[in-house]
Symmetry: C2
DNA sequence: TCTAATTTGTGCGTATGTATG
DNA sequence: GCATACATACGCACAAATTAG
């Protein structure tokens, strides 16, 4: 039972590595109140350190009241009240308005003693890898939104496994990590299935979809639904005015194409929810108000942030499918 | 393993030779991420250079994010992305949807050789100071949104003056720094003045305003307008259902209170833009579509991001008032 | 607890060559 | 020709952190 691990090559000072090791042993209850901490000499011998380096760490822990020294005997755990300056590394794909709910719900539920730094990889694997590498060893937890990036498992595996949490999209390779994720294909499939009667009003479905940025599961769910119910569909990369047709149901993932389609519908003097239909992914406060309401399939981002915070605080290691909701409004 | 080669006879400056040497060692994978770079002193001794010459090279590499320094330990490779030219420290107040346009327009106009890291101070001066303190010397440029924080000039002055840019809100104390800012009081005053005829429909104006988070200039502009035109107004901290009145014009800064007011209007069966008026600060795509359109006073965030990027790239040091727009829609 | 070695961080002074007007 | 600014390079001193003995 050594508790202490030292990486000589690391840029983190050795005495700080000792401090973290002891703190983590206490946090994980390997060391309990009253337990004896390994002696100065045993640690120094095991890791070939100077006695003073170990002493530096122990003095820090002692002045914080976490351990007590007894002359001639050793050091003993005196308090488990380690408010270790916890920091969270939060790696998002891109900045958009849906991150707002998620982020603030995460922050609120974490409490104000934990600092959270946000980064964005913009679906660029180089940026992703670099951000992880240059922040190695600096954070207590790493919350990562891999989005649809491939080949990032290598980077993620460079992080301490027990500190990693996966958010929003996960993959079979990442199944070892705790996560709060959306089951995109099921959510879309079931959302559409519930609305089948309404969808039958339309000739076919057009989805505006970017393979680079958007979850493939959404496309999969739509395909599955369409094949099963015999409805034809087409996938477009961007919304194209030219191909706009009456009788079409538009499935729109981003705000820009949503606005474009609605404008087009109004320009053409058509009735939304009758002659042309609209379903949008991700709900927002304003979508309830637009044109009598836009039908949405959406996950609960506030819940996602809350559940993630709880998982971190309670040291749970679960894989949680985040609840999803279909809200049928006028546009369908 | 010296990595560094210096040709004294060459006309290439020595510090640039050091930079290239390190970059080449990284490119050839002699130096990998996390590896320690030879120390200042060892390089200076081996090549009979001044310590400052080596330091010049290392500081360049550091502000580009390629190496990191740890006092008392050494320099470590942090990124293999050696074509990185510069790094920008971007300090926002809070995450919200209006940051999206600003951020992506800034990014797009900067080009892809510059890395941008975002931080948020959440209107907390301690967080603000700590973020600046812990990122000193690591970035080529510091773009700061001080919002309405007082007493942050001390922190900002710790940064190299020529690297600092102020965004969105500025103050007389910050007048030495280049900036792209909103003239909140003038924008509000003039926006309201143009709409005076429409505003006369209403009994009085209620603004929902948080002194902690929102720019005082907005309140000032409203006051000025009201006093000049003899219209009464009241300031509320949050929207209160109880005080909802017919004949009132609501001036709403955040999306939440906007939604609340619109819901209340519809619940009461009133006509927006006739019996109750709404003006909202900051335009968004969806506000055009809500209830036939919400009247907005708003700055052009895309332009703000673009102008800021240009200022940095062209090394301009200007104070630029960002263009502002009143969009009159049905809600007034 | 003290001393020592090594490391980065910072400030100041000096000198030289080059470009600019 | 002269003054000025800037980039490059060197030297020195002291502070603070890390680690060893």
């Amino acid at each position: 039972m050594s508790f202490v691990t030292i990486d000589t090559a690391s840029k983190i000072p050795k005495y700080k590595q000792i401090i973290s090791s002891i703190e983590e042993a206490i946090a994980s209850e390997e060391l309990r109140i009253g337990d004896q901490v390994p002696s100065l000499n045993s640690i120094k011998d095991q890791h070939s350190l100077s006695r003073d380096t170990v002493l530096l760490a122990f003095n820090d822990l002692r002045t914080r009241g976490i351990i007590q020294s007894v002359v001639g005997k050793g050091y003993y755990v005196a308090s488990t009240n380690i408010q270790l300056n916890e920091k969270v590394f939060l790696l998002f794909d891109e900045l958009n308005s849906f991150k707002e709910d998620l982020y603030y719900s995460f922050l609120d539920n974490l409490g104000d003693k934990i600092q959270v730094d946000i980064f964005f990889h913009h679906f660029n694997p180089d940026v992703f890898n670099q951000l992880i590498e240059s922040n190695l060893g600096q954070y207590t937890y790493y919350v990562i939104m891999p989005a649809n990036l491939q080949d990032v498992i290598m980077s993620i595996e460079r992080l301490p496994q027990e500190k990693v949490f996966i958010l929003d999209q996960t993959t079979p390779e990442l199944s070892a990590f705790p996560s709060v994720y959306q089951n995109f294909s099921r959510n879309v499939y079931e959302g559409l299935k519930i609305s089948l009667a309404l969808i039958r009003k339309y000739k076919s479905i057009t989805i505006v979809f970017s393979r680079e940025k958007q979850p493939l599961g959404i496309l999969k769910g739509l395909q599955e639904f369409c094949e099963e119910s015999g409805i034809s569909y087409s996938v477009e990369n961007t919304f194209d005015d030219e191909k706009f047709e009456v009788g079409e149901l538009y499935f729109l993932l981003d705000e820009r194409s949503l606005i474009q389609v609605i404008k087009k519908i109004k320009e053409a003097g058509l009735v939304i929810g009758m002659e042309v239909g609209v379903i949008s992914y991700n709900d927002s406060l304003l979508k309830e108000m637009v044109e009598g309401g836009i039908t949405t399939i959406s996950t609960d981002f506030s819940f996602m942030g809350k559940r993630l915070a709880e998982m971190i605080l309670n040291k749970e290691r679960l894989q949680i499918e985040n609840p999803n909701q279909l809200v049928i409004r006028n546009s369908l």
